[in-house]
Every structure is written in structure tokens, then in C-alpha cells.
């Protein structure tokens, strides 16, 4: 096999995961949060495929497909929520959605 070592793929995956986490934690626009979530999911996908290459079987790749399916469904729901919020002319800021507090 050519290309870099599996380790480097994992590094990239870790980087992507961190970027995604920071995005979820620090950004205030729900759209960007969803985007960051996607990045996190994709980083997980990358890690899965890397391990699949490492072990030489296909389990990781199949799991990655499942993850993609879940990601897609979740995006649909999330975007639907955002569109609904936008339709009501509410400001798209995560910190403003506090109704369910203790």
C-alpha cells in the first residue's frame, strides 16, 4: 500500500474532531454548530476507514456508511428546525434557546 502511515490519518482525524468540538462549543449560530457536528462525524468516519485499512477487513467501512446515513438524517432534522426558527423571524443564536432550563 502506498501513501502515509495509518497514524497520520488518525492525526488528521483527531485534528478534525477537535476543530469540530471547538466549533460546537464556541460558535453561536446553529448552522455553524451543525456544520461542526458534521466535521466531527466525518472525522470519526476517517478514523473508521483508517482502521479498516489497518486491519485489512471491511468492518470499518461498513460502519462508516452507517454513520453517513445517521449523519444525513440528523442534518435533515437539524436543518428543518433551523428553517422553522428562521421562518418565525427569531434570531439564530444558540444561547437564546433557554426555555428548558431548571
Amino acid at each position: 500500500m502506498q501513501g502515509p502511515d495509518v497514524t497520520w490519518y488518525l492525526v488528521v482525524s483527531a485534528l478534525l474532531f477537535s476543530i469540530g468540538t471547538l466549533g460546537v462549543l464556541l460558535r453561536r449560530s446553529p448552522l455553524i454548530v451543525l456544520l461542526s457536528l458534521e466535521i466531527m462525524l466525518n472525522s470519526a468516519n476517517l478514523a473508521l476507514i483508517s482502521f479498516s485499512r489497518l486491519h485489512g477487513d471491511h468492518d470499518g467501512q461498513i460502519f462508516a456508511l452507517a454513520v453517513m446515513a445517521v449523519a444525513a438524517s440528523e442534518v435533515v432534522v437539524g436543518l428543518g428546525l433551523i428553517v422553522a426558527v428562521a421562518r418565525r423571524k427569531l434570531i439564530l443564536d444558540v444561547d437564546r434557546f433557554r426555555v428548558l432550563r431548571g
Binding site: 468540538t21 460546537v24 462549543l25 464556541l26 444558540v94 428548558l100 432550563r101 431548571g102
Partner: protein, 633 residues
């Protein structure tokens, strides 16, 4: 013989029970006669017992009879036991005999009162309780009788319970007596743990092995009870107030019988007292103090019954003096003669009060002799007996006590002097009362009632139910002392020697010396009273405002006890309620709920609603878990 004892005990109880259960279905008169009959039946039983005892030889003169076991746990057992011996028989005769006469008297005195049935039920109940006390075969049953007479006293003092003063007096009497009950109970606990039994014989035997501290405690506890019941200083303040009860009650309970129970107790428990001589000396000392103080206070009383009440307190002081020195026979002898002449005095006073429609203030009386000549005679006999003029009963009994004091060494000599002073005071206050009430010109009040009463009372001074007992007691007051003439014949003392051997035997000389002084001082007292209250030209009473004030306030004992016990109790209760109870009741739960709410609130801060903080929490938690997971591997 023992059947006689049971009949004597149970007849009055049956009487009381019948009256209670029958309630309104019997007339008031019937109730009165049931009660009177029950007490006379008791007297019959007492007589049978007495005769039965006479017939037995000296060694067999004590018989125990038990109905059933009252209380038992493990080794400790107490039976419902009666003891029949000369001491008990003497008391039985006095209680049921004088009691019967007084209940008969009540039939006339209480006639017309709405609640007669209740009265007679209580009177029968009292006689039963007193008999239980004197016939008790062990200390616990004695305590039961002791407490029940206190109860009967409460019920009868507070008989006219719509009067606030009567209710208060009844409570005071009961509570002071309860204090005595408590000290006696403590003495009994010591006895139980040291000797294992409360039977008289067993306790006395076991007591010989007890330490002197324990013995002193036991004797002190018994003395506490005796002092409370017999209204000796310092537990005497209830007796004058007890005069709120009807006059027959004062005669029976607070003169002839209940208040003498303390003397009986000391004689009955004399082995214990003899093993704790300092306590026995204390008893004699308290008796001496009481006889002086009571005599002094009696000098300024204006209520006819209260004078006689303080006189009772004083005479019981003599009895305590006697038994405190070990002259048991003399003490009991005076108990008997005192029952006669004191009951007589109360009943005669009752005749006067009854005639004057309830008036008891001697300042409004005077010249009653003109209106009630026979009562005058009866009262005169009673007074002379009280002062101790021969050949009346009081002379023989009081002087035997004084002689015993004279024969008892140094301490006895002091007590002898006290006794003599007491004789002087007795002369003064008794005849002060007599002269003020009976002699001189009839006061306006007396004239108002001079015509005698309407229906039902026969002629003049009262119905036969009242005059006959007075007459009988007058006779007894005269001849009652003739059963024990010092140096000549003494059957009374001899019979009691078997039960309680006297510790002192005065010589004939001492007897005569004591008598001479006592009679002399008594006459002197009468003379002083004459000078101030009856002579043509009466002398002015000395002002002595301060002394008079102190005496009129009965030496401020009431105020002292109020400050020492009642007020602090109220104060402590108030403090505890405010500072402990209210916070505890209210606070505990509201505190709990507030606490719960605050804790919930604090925790609730974590639910901020911010999506990002939740996300951070999740991220942190995962990171921590991963680290832990890896580290544990």
C-alpha cells in the same frame, strides 16, 4: 377476729360503692343513712377485732391476713394484706368510732345540700381509706391507704367546688401530700433493694443489716410523708386552707384521723426510726417547733375553724414530740384523747356556724352562750380538755408526753420547755376563742339568729343527729383519759407495749412535776385570755404591729413556697415552651422544607438551559472517562 377486720375495712367501701352506683335512684336521706350505717358496721367489726385480740395471749397478738397478691415480679411480692394487732385495733376503733359519730352528725349538718349523696359517698370512701391505712400489713398497702386518704381529703375539701377558694385549697392539700407520698416511695425503693421486701417484719429484720446512710434515708423519707400528712412544719400550709371544706370534714379528716396518720406511721415503723436515731430526734424537734409556731399563729386567727385547725397542728406537734422521743404509748394516747376533744370542738363550732347560717368570723360573734347553752357547755368541756385541766382526758395524755420529755436527758429537757410554753399558748388561744364567741353580750348577728331555726331542727341548737354525737364526744372527752393514769393503772400503754416498746419510762416524780407545770401554765394562759377578752375592764392588746403582721401572714410560709416552687415551675415551663418547644414543633419541619428547597435550588443552577454548557459537560465527562479508562488499563 380477722373476719372482723375485713368487715371493718369493707363495710364503708360497700357503702360508698352503693351510693355511687345507685346515684339518683335513692333519696339523699337514704344515701346519708347508708353511709352512717356502713361506718357503724365498721365500728362493730373493729370492736369484734378488739375483743378477739383481748382473748389471745400476748404472743399471738399479731395476725396477718391476705386477700390476694397485689403485685409481684420475680422475687418481689406484695399482697393485699391486713395486719391485726393492738396498734391497728386501737386506730380502727378510733377511726370507725369517732368517724361514725361524725358521719351521723353530718346527716344533720349537710341536710338540704344538693349534693348530699356525693358527700356521703366520699365520707364512706374516706373511712375505708383510713382503715386501709391503719390495717395495712405491708408498706405498699399502707402507701395505698395513705394516698387514698389524700384523695378523699381532696374530694371533700373541694366539695363545694363552685367556690374558687375551696378548689384551690383542695389542690394545695393534695399536692403537698403527694410530695410526702414521693418521699415515702423513695424510702421504699431503698428498702426493696436492701431488704428485698416491704412486709413489716421482713423489712425490720433486714434493716438491721443496712448501713446508717441507708437507714437515715429510709427514715427521712418516711418522716417526709408523715410531716406532709400531719401538717407539721415545713409542710403544714395546706391545713388551714383545708377549712374550706364542710365542718364535719374538718372534724373527721383534719382533726381526728387523717392528720394523725403521720404519728401512726412513726409508731408502726418505729424499729426503722430507732435504727436512725438522728431522724427520730428530728421528728421530735419538728413536733416541738410546730407546736410553738402553730400556737403563736392561732393567737391572731379570726376564723373559728382556723383557730381550731392551728390548734390541731399544735397538738399533733405534741404527738410527734412524744413518738420522736420513743414514748409511743403516750403519743398514741394523746392521739386518742385528741380525737375526742378536737372532734368535739369542731362539731360544737359546727353547731354555732350552722345556727348562725354559715358565719365563721369570731369578730361577729359574741354571747352565744345565751342562745346555745348546751353547745356552750360542750365547747367548754372540749376547751378544758384541750388545755389539759384534770380530770379531763387531755390532762392525762398531754402530761404523759411532757413527763417523757423530762425523762429524756438534755435534748428532752429543751423539748420539755417547748412543751410547757405550748401549754401556755394553748391556754391563751383556746380561751380567747371561747370567751370571744360565747361570753359577753350577744352580738347583733347572734341576736338575729336567736329564735332558733325553722322546721326539721327540733328545738334550739340542732337536730338530734347533731346533738347526740356532740354529747357522746363530750362524755368521751371527760372520761377518755381514765384508761391511762400515770403511776396508777395503764392498760392502754400496756397493750401497746407489745407492738412498740416505749424507750422512756418517766418516774413518778417526773410525772407529777410535769403535770404541775403543765396545769399551772394552762391555767395561767386561761387567766391571760380572761384578762384580755372577758374581764369587765378588758386590757388593751399590745400593738406589736410587726409581730402581728408576721403571725397574720402565718410566718410567710405560703409566700415562700410560692416563690420557691410554683413560680419557678411556671417560669421554667414558659422558657422551655418558647425556646425549645416552639422551634421544635414549628421549626423542625419548616426548617427541613426550607433546607430541601434551597438544596434543590442550588442543584437547579446546573440546568441553565444553555446548549453549549451541556455540550461542554458532555465533552468533559467523556474526556475524563477516557483518561480513567486508559489509566486503569
Amino acid at each position: 377476729m380477722t373476719q372482723g377486720a375485713w368487715i371493718c375495712l369493707l363495710a364503708p367501701l360497700a357503702g360508698a360503692w352503693t351510693i355511687t352506683v345507685m346515684g339518683d335512684t335513692i333519696s339523699r336521706r337514704t344515701a346519708a343513712w347508708i353511709s352512717t350505717l356502713s361506718v357503724f358496721v365498721a365500728f362493730g367489726g373493729a370492736l369484734a377485732t378488739f375483743v378477739g385480740l383481748l382473748r389471745r395471749s400476748e404472743e399471738e397478738r399479731a395476725a396477718l391476713t391476705t386477700a390476694w397478691t397485689w403485685l409481684s415480679t420475680g422475687n418481689f411480692e406484695v399482697g393485699l394484706t391486713l395486719l391485726v394487732d393492738p396498734l391497728a385495733a386501737t386506730m380502727m376503733l378510733i377511726v370507725s368510732g369517732v368517724g361514725g359519730l361524725i358521719v351521723l352528725y353530718s346527716v344533720g349538718y349537710m341536710d338540704g345540700d344538693d349534693e348530699e349523696r356525693r358527700y356521703f359517698a366520699y365520707m364512706s370512701f374516706f373511712v375505708f381509706s383510713m382503715l386501709l391505712l391503719v390495717q395495712a400489713g405491708n408498706f405498699l398497702i399502707l402507701l395505698v391507704g395513705w394516698g387514698l386518704v389524700g384523695l378523699a381529703s381532696y374530694l371533700l375539701i373541694g366539695f363545694w367546688h363552685e367556690r374558687r377558694e375551696a378548689v384551690a385549697a383542695a389542690k394545695k392539700a393534695f399536692i403537698m401530700n403527694a410530695f410526702g407520698d414521693a418521699t415515702m416511695a423513695l424510702a421504699f425503693f431503698v428498702l426493696i433493694w436492701q431488704t428485698g421486701t416491704l412486709e413489716f417484719a421482713g423489712a425490720f429484720e433486714g434493716a438491721e443489716l443496712m448501713s446508717s446512710t441507708a437507714l437515715n434515708l429510709v427514715a427521712l423519707g418516711l418522716l417526709g410523708g408523715a410531716v406532709a400528712k400531719s401538717a407539721q412544719i415545713p409542710l403544714h400550709t395546706w391545713l388551714p386552707d383545708a377549712m374550706e371544706g364542710p365542718t364535719p370534714v374538718s372534724a373527721l379528716i383534719h382533726a381526728a384521723t387523717m392528720v394523725t396518720a403521720g404519728v401512726y406511721l412513726i409508731v408502726r415503723a418505729h424499729p426503722l426510726f430507732e435504727l436512725a436515731p438522728s431522724i427520730q430526734d428530728l421528728a421530735a424537734g419538728l413536733g416541738a417547733i410546730t407546736l410553738l409556731v402553730a400556737g403563736l399563729v392561732a393567737l391572731v386567727q379570726t376564723d373559728i375553724k382556723r383557730v381550731i385547725a392551728y390548734s390541731t397542728m399544735s397538738q399533733i406537734g405534741y404527738m410527734f414530740l412524744g413518738v420522736g422521743l420513743g414514748a409511743y404509748g403516750s403519743g398514741m394516747f394523746h392521739l386518742m384523747t385528741h380525737a375526742f376533744f378536737k372532734a368535739l370542738l369542731f362539731m360544737a363550732a359546727g353547731l354555732v356556724i350552722h345556727h348562725l347560717a354559715g358565719e365563721q368570723d369570731i369578730r361577729r360573734m359574741g354571747g352565744v352562750r345565751r342562745v346555745m347553752p348546751r353547745t356552750y357547755l360542750a365547747f367548754l368541756v372540749g376547751s378544758l380538755a384541750l388545755v389539759g385541766i384534770p380530770p379531763l382526758s387531755g390532762f392525762f395524755s398531754k402530761d404523759s408526753i411532757l413527763a417523757a420529755a423530762l425523762a429524756s436527758g438534755g435534748y428532752g429537757a429543751i423539748l420539755f420547755v417547748a412543751g410547757l410554753l405550748g401549754a401556755l399558748l394553748t391556754g391563751i388561744y383556746t380561751f380567747r376563742l371561747f370567751f370571744v364567741v360565747f361570753l359577753g353580750e350577744p352580738s347583733p348577728l347572734v341576736k338575729q339568729h336567736a329564735q332558733g331555726h325553722d322546721s326539721g331542727h327540733g328545738s334550739g341548737e340542732g337536730p338530734w343527729t347533731m346533738t347526740v354525737p356532740v354529747a357522746v364526744l363530750t362524755l368521751l372527752a371527760i372520761i377518755g383519759g381514765w384508761v391511762q393514769i400515770a403511776g396508777v393503772w395503764h392498760p392502754f400503754g400496756d397493750r401497746l407495749e407489745v407492738v412498740a416498746e416505749s424507750l422512756v419510762e418517766p418516774s413518778v416524780v417526773q410525772d407529777y412535776v410535769a403535770s404541775a407545770f403543765a396545769v399551772g401554765l394552762g391555767l395561767l394562759g386561761m387567766g391571760i385570755a380572761w384578762a384580755f377578752y372577758a374581764a369587765r375592764r378588758r386590757r388593751e392588746l399590745p400593738r406589736a404591729a410587726a409581730a402581728r403582721n408576721v403571725l397574720e401572714h402565718k410566718l410567710y410560709f405560703d409566700e415562700l413556697y410560692d416563690a420557691l416552687f410554683y413560680r419557678p415551675a411556671v417560669w421554667i415551663a414558659g422558657i422551655w415552651r418558647r425556646w425549645i418547644e416552639e422551634p421544635l414543633i414549628g421549626g423542625s419541619i419548616t426548617g427541613l422544607s426550607l433546607g430541601a428547597r434551597r438544596a434543590g435550588g442550588a442543584l437547579g443552577e446546573a440546568q441553565s438551559g444553555y446548549l453549549r454548557s451541556y455540550a461542554l459537560a458532555i465533552a468533559t465527562a467523556v474526556a475524563v472517562l477516557v483518561v480513567v479508562f486508559v489509566a486503569v488499563q
